[in-house]
Point group: C2
Chain length 230, copies 2
DNA sequence: CACTTTAGGTAGCTATAGCTACCGATTTTT
DNA sequence: AAAAATCGGTAGCTATAGCTACCTAAAGTG
C-alpha cells in the first residue's frame, strides 16, 4: 500500500490509534477498493445502490442533497481523511441518501461494511480498535444531530438565542465570552435569518440582558436571560 | 438469569439474532447491573455521570430534557426491551444529556460500554452479533435524526408538506395512500402547529393539488405538488 | 346506546420573523 | 495602500404561521 495513503489513513478518525503496521494487515483483510474521480464528477449518486463506507484520500468532495424538484443543496464539504456514508454502512438502507461530488480531483477508498463486521476477528489486532472508532464516530454524529434537532425544534427567536447563550455561558463559565460562530453561521445553525437574529440580539441588548460586539458577548442579566429561555 | 428477563432481552433489538443460550454466556461476560426503580423516581439524572447503556426490562420510562430554566419536556416514552443512553455509550461524553424517569415501577439493566468493546472477543459467540446490532441501532438512529434535521430546516409550511407528501408518494408508489402519522403527530414531526398545518392542507386541496380525508391522501396534481417543494 | 374523549377542520387576529435594502466597519486581496 | 469582499447592524414592509376559539366527526368507554 502506498506510503502517502497510509499517512492519510492513520490520521483519519476511523483508523485512530491503529499503527501503520496493523493498518497494513487490516487493509489486506478488508480488501478496500480505491477509485479516483475527476473534478465535478460524481463519487456517489443519490438514490443509487450504496457502494460502501467512503474515506476521502485526497481532494475535496461535497455532500449534496438533491431535492425531488431538482434543486441541489450542499450539506458539507469534506477533505482528506474524512468519511462519508458512515451512517448508511450499518443501516438497513442500501441506497445513497445524498450525492457526493468531487470538487477537485479525488481519490476515494471504499470499505465494504460486511467485511468490517466480518470474519477476521482473531487475525487482525487493530480490528477491535476499528470497531471502537466506528462506534465513537457514529455516536458522536448522532449526538450532534440530536443537539441540532433540539435547537431547530425551539420556537421563537428569543428562546433560541437565550438557550444558545446559556449553553455557551455554561461552557465558558464566565460572563464574557467569545462565540464560536459568526453571525451568518449562528443564523444558519439556529435556522433563522441573519437579520432577524441581529434584530433580536439588539432588542436583548436594549433590555439590558446582554452586551455584544461581533462575536464577543457579555451577559449582564443572567436571570432575564434564563427567563428568555422560558 | 431469570427466564422472564431472558425473554425480554432476546426480543430487544440489541440482542437481535442472539439465542438464549448465547445470551446467557454473554451476560456472564458483560456483568450487567440490574436495578429496580419506583414510580416517579429517577433512573438517570441529566448532567450526572453516565451509568451505562440502559435496557428497560419492565415498566415504562420517560426520557426527559430539563432546560436551564427548569422546565421539563418529555422527549419519548419507552417500554420493555427498549434502550436508552445508547448514543452516549461510545461517545467521549461522560454525563447524561437527559434524565430518565420511571413512569411506573421499572427494572433496568445497565451494560458497561467498556465491556462491550472489551476482552471476550473469542469466548462469546454472540459477541459479533451484538456489535453488529449496536452498529445498526446507532446508524438507524443517526439516519432518523438526519431526516428530522432535514425537515426542520425547511422554511415554509407548503414546502414541508410538499416534500413530506412527495416522500410518502415515493414510498407508496401510488397516487392514493395513507399517511403513517395523525395530524397531531405530523405537526409535531414537521415542528409546526396543527392548525396551520390543517389550513395549508386545505389551501392545497382548494388549489386542486391534493384531496384528503383524515390520514388518507390522494395526489391530484403531481406537477403542482413538485412545484410546491420548490 | 349514551357519554366522553380524541381527532381534525375552519376562522379571525396578531406576533413574529423573513426579506430587501442600505450603510458602516472590518478583513482580505492585490 | 487601494480595492474588494465579508461581516454585521438597522429599518420598513409583509407574508407567514402561531394562537384561541369553536365546531363536527370519529373513536373509545361505561
Amino acid at each position: 500500500m502506498d506510503a502517502n495513503i497510509v499517512k492519510i489513513l492513520v490520521s483519519s478518525p476511523i483508523f485512530h490509534d491503529i499503527s501503520p503496521s496493523q493498518l497494513d494487515i487490516m487493509l489486506d483483510c478488508l480488501k478496500p477498493k480505491i477509485n479516483t474521480y475527476n473534478k465535478n464528477s460524481y463519487i456517489a449518486v443519490q438514490g443509487e445502490p450504496y457502494t460502501g463506507l467512503g474515506i476521502l484520500l485526497s481532494g475535496e468532495a461535497a455532500i449534496i442533497k438533491e431535492s425531488a424538484s431538482g434543486s441541489r443543496v450542499i450539506m458539507t464539504v469534506i477533505g482528506p481523511g474524512e468519511l462519508f456514508g458512515e451512517m448508511i454502512a450499518f443501516s438497513p438502507r442500501k441506497h445513497w441518501p445524498a450525492s457526493v461530488s468531487a470538487q477537485s480531483t479525488c481519490a476515494v477508498m471504499f470499505l465494504p461494511p460486511e467485511k468490517i463486521i466480518g470474519e477476521c476477528t482473531q487475525a487482525c489486532g487493530g480490528y477491535k480498535q476499528l470497531i471502537k472508532n466506528i462506534l465513537v464516530l457514529l455516536s458522536t454524529k448522532a449526538l450532534m444531530l440530536n443537539q441540532r434537532v433540539e435547537y431547530l425544534a425551539i420556537k421563537g427567536m428569543r428562546e433560541k438565542i437565550s438557550i444558545y447563550l446559556l449553553e455557551q455561558y455554561k461552557i465558558n463559565q464566565k460572563n464574557t465570552f467569545v462565540l464560536p460562530l459568526k453571525r451568518n453561521e449562528l443564523a444558519d445553525f439556529l435556522s433563522v435569518s441573519r437579520t432577524a437574529l441581529s434584530r433580536e440580539l439588539g432588542r436583548m441588548r436594549d433590555e439590558g440582558i446582554i452586551e455584544f460586539y461581533r462575536t464577543s458577548v457579555k451577559i449582564n442579566n443572567l436571570a432575564l436571560l434564563r427567563r428568555g429561555a422560558e
